[in-house]
């Protein structure tokens, strides 16, 4: 998402060349002059056919001619090496052949009238004679824009509903949740595998066994332009080759005797050798590595006892956030889509659909150890749900019995994650017992999908709207109106800010919530600020809190400091002026 925003701030002058984005890795190779290769091929095949005029032999049907094999087949064996540099459609020596085995059999008799055979097709849409054209257009627009249903599907539903627009829209609204959604885990797995092996969707599918190949290809195409995949495929060649080269098994190191995992440093009973990284790892780390081709991040480690007994008292100040968290994590209802208004009269808040959250209070005590870990691991900031957060609300004491007050236990995602991991473990075991992975995947389709939450829904809408904004911006790039562009820039900046903040709010990363970074508190005082401060002192006297509030960009401490430094000046101002009122 961030990368999208950073290059799409509504600026009219987009510099990135779409060609370079669109074309595949082998374009450069295929851009080489064609002639060289063709010459090579014709030289290597002495039996290459004569020029075209001799190729066509006007033999009669009865004479059968052996076909000349063209070069493409002969070079099939070395196609693996040649594939990378071969230009597509390099064979220019084909010929037209005559004979029964080449021509089509043509039916001799012509039926004067077509018999009533059934149509080999199914009608999806036919515009009826009497239909309100405008209504139809707005229906299609609503279906595709608001509910994000393909227009042809919407039209089909409309036909089924007997061209009753209202009924059809209702029906479409109901179908909203049947969309093909990708969970964060799936997306991450896809990206990881993609970065390693490239566009081998069959291999990627083996990592996402419950996804169909079609679904994977579709996902790729839909996101191709939003995520610059090229960026993270750069290192793939080196990475894969190096892992293959390290064939030699490492000698059992000391760690295997101590039974300590090289990756996470935990003791475990069964250690295995990670051949790619040439070290000993515990089962969990190894499975993680096999799936993602990355070492398992140690901070993600979910130690069992941590999970069982860590109840943290929810501070008063956090209850609001927990409520919001709960709300956002509720299963998606599609309400955001419904609520969404498309049109000119919308404001940004309409689009966003979420209310601004108040700035955090700074003095609240908040204990959440795992939060720190999360921050250290940039890869997993997006999915803090996996960390063992457990919170007691309403003054429930840490470690006390659960009957004492309401316990909000956000364990569910963890459990699911666990189940998922267990399934993966099972699968890995099955694979290691020798059965081929491809058949395995077919026989045991595991179905696991994280629930689609309100928050995801809102993110969805948000990102779609941003894309729309960008699209509008690009549309009118030709008649640039600097004012408009500026306002768009502001909008985009706001959206970006909003987006970042939303993901943080949802993430509930305490260290960021608590930090001062979100508002810039500048140390320096400009003249203007000094004037403002003095005026504030006039009005509010010595109530530093008020002044800090009004100033906005200064902390209470800074105001106090200012007061201490300029005491005389302030005192004269605040003493004299009030008397004038």
């Amino acid at each position: 998402m961030d990368s999208f925003f950073s290059n799409g701030t509504g600026d009219a002058s987009r510099t990135d060349n779409p060609d370079s984005m669109m074309e595949d890795t082998e374009v450069d190779a295929s851009m080489e002059p064609e002639q060289i290769e063709v010459d090579d091929e014709t030289e290597s095949h002495e039996d290459s056919p004569a020029p075209s005029k001799n190729k066509i032999k006007n033999t009669t049907k009865s004479i059968r001619k052996r076909r000349k094999r063209s070069s493409s087949c002969d070079s099939l064996n070395d196609s693996e090496e040649g594939a990378k540099i071969r230009r597509p459609l390099a064979n220019t020596n084909k010929s037209i052949n005559v004979g029964d085995e080449f021509q089509a059999r043509i039916p001799e008799d012509i039926d004067p009238k077509p018999t009533h055979i059934e149509d080999p097709d199914e009608l999806v849409w036919e515009t009826p004679e009497k239909i309100n054209d405008e209504k139809l257009l707005s229906f299609a627009k609503e279906a595709s824009d608001r509910y994000r249903i393909p227009i042809d599907r919407a039209l089909w539903i409309l036909t089924k509903e007997n061209f009753d627009f209202d009924a059809a829209i209702l029906n479409i609204a109901k179908r909203n949740d049947h969309r093909d959604l990708w969970t964060d885990d799936e997306v991450r797995t896809f990206h990881n595998v993609y970065s390693l092996i490239g566009k081998h969707f069959v291999v990627i599918r083996q990592m996402l066994p419950h996804r169909s190949l079609q679904s994977i290809v579709q996902y790729y195409y839909e996101n191709k332009k939003r995520i610059s995949y090229q960026a993270f495929t750069e290192f793939n060649a080196n990475a894969s080759s190096s892992s293959e080269e390290t064939e030699e098994r490492p000698t059992p190191s000391d760690s295997i005797l101590e039974a300590v995992c090289d990756n996470c440093g935990e003791q475990a009973e069964k250690m295995q050798v990670n051949e790619a990284l040439n070290r000993i790892e515990c089962r969990a780390c190894l499975v993680y590595f096999q799936l993602t081709q990355n070492p398992r991040p140690t901070c993600l480690r979910i130690v069992l006892d941590e999970r069982i007994d860590r109840h943290v008292e929810c501070p008063e100040s956090m209850i609001n956030y927990m409520d919001e968290y709960e709300k956002l994590m509720a299963p998606s209802t599609g309400y955001t889509y419904v609520k969404r208004r498309m049109g000119k009269d919308q404001t940004l808040d309409d689009i966003l659909g979420v209310n601004r959250t108040p700035p955090p209070e700074l003095n609240a005590e908040f204990l959440l150890e795992s939060g720190v870990n999360e921050q250290n691991n940039p890869e997993d900031v997006g999915a803090p749900l996996l960390s063992p957060i457990k919170m007691c609300r309403d003054g429930c004491r840490a470690g006390s019995s659960k009957s004492n007050g309401r316990i909000v236990d956000y364990e569910m995602p963890i459990n699911e994650k666990e189940d998922f991991m267990i399934e993966l473990l099972k699968e890995a075991e099955q694979n290691s017992t020798g059965s081929s992975s491809s058949t395995q995947n077919k026989t045991t389709p595991t179905v696991w999908q994280a629930p689609h939450t309100l928050c995801m829904e809102e993110m969805d809408v948000l990102s779609d709207d941003s894309r729309r904004k960008l699209f509008e911006a690009c549309l009118s790039s030709s008649r640039v109106n600097t004012k408009e562009v500026n306002s768009w820039k502001n909008d985009m900046a706001y959206l970006k800010d909003r987006m970042e903040r939303m993901s943080i709010d949802v993430d509930l990363i305490p260290s960021i919530l608590m930090s001062n970074e979100r508002v810039q508190y500048k140390q320096n005082w400009t003249d203007h600020e000094k004037e403002d401060a003095l005026r504030c002192f006039q009005w509010y006297g010595n109530s530093f809190n008020y002044i800090a509030d009004v100033m906005g960009n200064k902390t209470v401490e800074q105001i106090e400091e200012f007061y201490a430094e300029n005491r005389e000046l302030v005192d004269t101002v605040s003493d004299i002026q009030p008397e004038n009122f």
Partner: protein, 461 residues
């Protein structure tokens, strides 16, 4: 003459699409991307063209459907081979040319079924005269041979479609504006005079290497394959300057009952494989040309290896088929990012050199037309009336009789029209078979049979 008919009334247009088509993937780095068809579809829908289309989802073609052209052996191979059991098919892959340009990808057979199913359904719809134009962007795979894959094509949906059209149409014209020669279709109908194949393509050191001007068909089909070999960088105007005269001549001499137009978009400027310099306007003009004739028209896709331009082109040609103007600004759609940076429908021509100089084109046109002139009017099927305006005097019967040589018989078309009154008793032209005698003979026969009947009746009673 059934020449150009100006836009009268609207044409019913059927459009064939299956939403799965975009999800087939030829393999990493392969230039053929079925995804372009989905992009086209989204553009067509978001332009609102669905209001003028009948949208159909074709049934996948069955094995039997496809073996109407392809050999059983080849189809069995396509059906059973997949990337997992590839090794056991090594020999057959060589034989059927599968593996290099035409990789064995997942879902290959279904892909063939969909593309062929679309063209078959389109042809059936035209046969039943339910629509005037049928569009199948999933099809157009013109390189596939009877038992060989070639040039990203596995099954030749065009041949299957034409075979279906031939059931009810005496003559079918196939026109190919792909940058590559339509060798698969030409080969399939190389020896028949019921299908004329016309291909405009880049020739010379270019795939597939066939399509020389001198290749004109064989046997009965001699002169029924027309090839117009072109060189790099041809522009809209140059293309039309040869396309229109040639096609007008073809329509005049061959007078097809149905036309199949292969709209391969790799002849556009900026294609990854094609060196031509056409824009949507020049390309679409070909579609407009056939729309202006009042013949059933089937439009299929084909090549095109810069997906965004393919989508643009075929969307534009869909709009031509329904005769709707579409704005240059592309509508918002799921894949709008692909159309950056200008998000416009039309593309600009590049300033690449046009290696087809006017003299060369003129000569080429003369050669092609000379071949067409050799065609006997409308083969192996009934003749259309000769154009009236060719010899206007012949219409005047009395003038012919006046000018006739007294010692020779009158032309039969005059005598046929003469009505001899029953009351006339003079010896005219027809002495041998006098109608009155004929009538008498007939009557006598009737009496005989009547008598026979009356004789029999009592017996049965």
């Amino acid at each position: 003459m059934s020449g150009t008919v100006q836009e009268h009334g609207k044409r019913r247009v059927a459009y064939y699409y299956d939403s799965n088509i975009g999800n087939y993937y030829y393999g990493q780095g392969h230039v053929m991307k079925p995804h372009r068809i989905r992009m086209t579809h989204h553009l067509v829908l978001n332009y609102g063209l669905y209001r003028n289309l009948e949208i159909f989802r074709p049934f996948p073609a069955s094995f039997d459907d496809m073996t109407r052209f392809h050999t059983d052996e080849y189809m069995t191979f396509l059906k059973s081979a997949n990337p997992d059991n590839l090794k056991s098919f090594n020999k057959q892959m060589l034989k059927f040319n599968v593996g290099e340009d035409c990789p064995l990808f997942d879902g290959l057979y279904e892909f063939c079924q969909l593309s062929s199913g679309g063209s078959l359904a389109a042809a059936t719809k035209l046969n039943k005269q339910k629509v005037d134009i049928a569009i199948n962007w999933m099809g157009g795979l013109h390189h596939a041979k009877k038992s060989e894959a070639s040039g990203f094509c596995y099954t030749n949906d065009i041949v299957l479609g034409i075979l279906e059209l031939l059931k009810y149409h005496k003559r079918v014209l196939y026109v190919d504006i792909d940058v590559h020669h339509g060798d698969g279709v030409e080969e399939a109908f190389y020896t028949t005079d019921r299908v004329m194949t016309v291909s405009f393509h880049k020739y010379g050191d270019f795939f597939p290497g066939t399509g020389d001007l001198k290749d004109i068909g064989a046997g009965k089909g001699k002169l029924y394959s027309v090839n117009v070999p072109l060189r790099d960088g041809i522009t809209d105007s140059a293309y039309q300057s040869i396309f229109k005269p040639v096609m007008t001549k073809v329509m005049e001499r061959f007078d097809p009952c149905a036309v199949v137009l292969q709209c391969g978009a790799d002849s556009l400027n900026g294609d990854r494989l094609g060196p031509f310099n056409l824009t949507l306007k020049g390309h679409g003009e070909c579609a407009r040309f056939f729309r202006s004739y009042n013949v059933p028209l089937m439009m299929v896709g084909g090549g095109g290896y810069t997906p965004r331009n393919v989508a643009r082109c075929w969307t534009y040609e869909t709009s031509i088929a329904v005769n709707k103007e579409v704005p240059n600004e592309l509508p918002y759609n799921d894949y709008f990012e692909y159309f950056g940076p200008n998000y416009r429908l039309h593309i600009e021509a590049s300033n690449a050199a046009n290696e087809n100089n006017p003299e060369m084109l003129t000569k080429l046109q003369a050669d092609v037309i000379a071949n067409l002139e050799k065609l006997t009017f409308v083969p192996s099927v009934q003749m259309r009336p000769i154009p009236d305006d060719a010899f206007p005097n012949q219409n005047d019967e009395t003038a012919i009789i006046d000018a006739a040589h007294p010692d020779k018989r009158l032309p039969s078309e005059v005598t046929d029209r003469m009505v001899q009154d029953d009351g006339d008793f003079y010896d005219g032209e027809r002495e041998g078979d006098d109608r009155r005698n004929e009538n008498n003979a007939k009557r006598a026969a009737e009496f005989d049979s009547d008598d026979g009947a009356t004789e029999k009746r009592p017996k049965t009673e």
